[in-house]
């Protein structure tokens, strides 16, 4: 892997003596669509929270395009090109769709920019950029609505659009397909392939394996806080460790994969 956008080295994380992440290392190649899978409780969401700075790791290092993130507070990471979505949708319930999306512009450089009365300027470029992105993904009919009242699948997409508004290089998506029906999942897959074609690398936590197979080119598998597989999506089914993790099994055979 010549040019990783994100590299994780020996990440450890404990909560009160319980090891939630143990020595997790892998790299996300620039421009790839990388899946992070594993059974419930494997530590995937915790790892996302460590990467985005919600939690501080107890050991190991994280680099975004070669820059060490140890001393970068959570709120500065979006400015470096890392944006994320959440497992349970976390849009601002009292803001309208376009306001939620425009919040994604907050981390752009320039302090005076924050004092422009954008809400009173119908032609402001902040607004037209947000509208354009909403338009691209067919969401503009909802632009003025307060998000609390919108259907689940729509809110899920808005969360991704909000993350995209920050012009990220790496997009972290935590279970984007969860709770979607088959047609919504297919729409989301095409949407993410489109996102990826804009040169944005994806790291996706997901349980829906057909979705992962259709979207991702590289897979990392975790179980009990450890990385048990890392390789091309095509070879994940051949890994004994992965099969054991998912199907349960012969614990005696520990020299798998």
């Amino acid at each position: 892997m010549a040019d990783p956008i994100l590299s994780l080295r020996n990440i450890d994380k404990n909560f009160g003596g319980i090891e939630v992440l143990r020595d997790v290392s892998f790299e996300v190649a620039s421009g790839s669509r990388h899946a992070l899978i594993g059974p419930n409780g494997a530590g995937k969401t915790t790892l996302f929270n460590v990467i985005s700075g919600v939690y501080t790791p107890d050991g190991g290092s994280i680099q975004l395009q070669g820059k060490d993130l140890a001393d970068v507070p959570s709120r500065h990471r979006i400015g470096l090109g890392m944006a994320r979505s959440f497992q349970n949708i976390r849009l601002m319930p009292h803001l309208s769709v376009i306001e939620n999306v425009m919040l994604g512009q907050h981390a752009r450089p320039g302090l005076l920019r924050l004092l422009r009365p954008v809400g009173m300027m119908p032609g402001a470029h902040e607004r037209s950029e947000a509208l354009e992105l909403l338009n691209t993904f067919g969401l503009d009919p909802h632009r003025g609505q307060v998000v609390g009242n919108l259907p689940y699948g729509v809110r899920k997409k808005i969360e991704v659009v909000r993350a995209l508004m920050s012009n990220p290089k790496l997009l972290l998506l935590d279970e984007p397909a969860a709770g979607l029906n088959a047609s919504e999942t297919a729409t989301l897959r095409d949407f993410l392939i489109d996102v990826s074609s804009r040169g944005i690398s994806l790291l996706v936590v997901e349980h829906d394996m057909p979705f992962v197979n259709a979207l991702c080119d590289h897979v990392t598998v975790m179980n009990f806080g450890e990385r048990i597989f890392d390789g091309p999506a095509s070879s994940v089914r051949q890994s004994k460790a992965v099969l054991e993790a998912y199907l349960g099994g012969e614990t005696g055979d520990s020299n798998a994969a």
Partner: protein, 286 residues
């Protein structure tokens, strides 16, 4: 204009500015039940500056506002260490401390109060109020105002989106202290006399109710809330002894039928759609 009407406009203006002082912190997610303390600081700063140092009215108002801002800024640090109902109690305690200090200070007149040596007309209060309303509407239309509302809704996600929660919350307290201080200074000038008994817990509760009943989702809320609370008791005067009962019942009814405040985003959207039924293009707040 009759003395009654001009007095009503002056009180309305003071209440609206005061309400915006509480609103700016509420918009960023913090309830301030110490409003009377901040208003007292502005009022006493004004009385002291005008009487002792003989500074012009304009500069006294500016300094009183700045004193309110400085106290709001400083008090934000201990208060923001608390959460939820404890924060409400901490702001309440702050107001009690302010009252205690004034009562025990000879310089501030103790329980006797202070006489203010200058006087302003209701027109000055009206113009100042209009200026404050425009300022708050402007603030809430900026990305900064959007960030404040984001902090209100979800601090953790606001952080991920790059918002400096701490700076927003401290700034909101400083701005809230400034506006409450300004309202106190206007009060001192208009009534010509400040006494600590006026700045009691009921005042703090009432101004917080202006904001909560009016609604914290938009900058219209405090304006509507303060107007409602200032004018309704006046309109009920003919009811004599019954007016406080009727007023209390009205508050409870409001809380039942409009739990998020009189003015909400949904309500504004509906009004907008009625005015422009053919399309919702160009809706002002997106």
């Amino acid at each position: 204009m009759s003395g009654y009407m001009s007095g009503l406009i002056a009180i309305l203006g003071i209440n609206v500015i005061f309400a915006y002082g509480i609103y700016v912190t509420a918009a960023a997610g913090q309830l301030n039940l110490g409003g009377a303390g901040f208003q007292a600081i502005g009022a006493y700063a004004c009385a002291l500056l005008s009487a002792t140092y003989g500074i012009s009215i304009f500069w006294t108002l500016v300094f009183s506002t700045l004193v309110g801002a400085a106290i709001g800024f400083l008090i934000a640090f201990p208060i923001l260490r608390t959460r939820g109902v404890y924060m409400v109690l901490a702001t309440f305690a702050f107001a009690e401390v302010v009252v205690g200090i004034i009562l025990n200070s000879e310089l501030l007149g103790g329980s006797m109060g202070l006489i203010v040596s200058d006087y302003i007309e209701w027109q000055s209060i009206l113009w100042t109020t209009i200026g404050v309303i425009i300022f708050v509407f402007y603030l809430m239309s900026t990305p900064l105002g959007l960030a404040m509302r984001a902090v209100h809704d979800d601090e953790a996600v606001a952080t991920i989106m790059g918002v400096n929660n701490r700076a927003i919350q401290v700034g909101a307290f400083a701005l809230g202290g400034a506006l409450a201080g300004l309202s106190g200074a206007l009060y001192a000038y208009y009534f010509g006399f400040v006494e600590v008994q006026y700045f009691n817990a009921f005042l703090s509760i009432f101004v917080l109710l202006y904001v909560l009943i009016g609604g914290t989702q938009t900058a219209w809320g405090p304006l509507i809330g303060a107007t409602f609370f200032t004018l309704i008791p006046e309109a009920l005067r003919m009811g004599e002894d019954w007016r406080f009962l009727i007023f209390g019942v009205l508050i409870v009814v409001m809380m039942i039928i409009r739990p998020e405040g009189i003015v909400t985003r949904d309500a504004l959207d509906r009004i907008w759609l009625k005015l422009k039924p053919q399309t919702n293009d160009g809706a002002p707040n997106g």
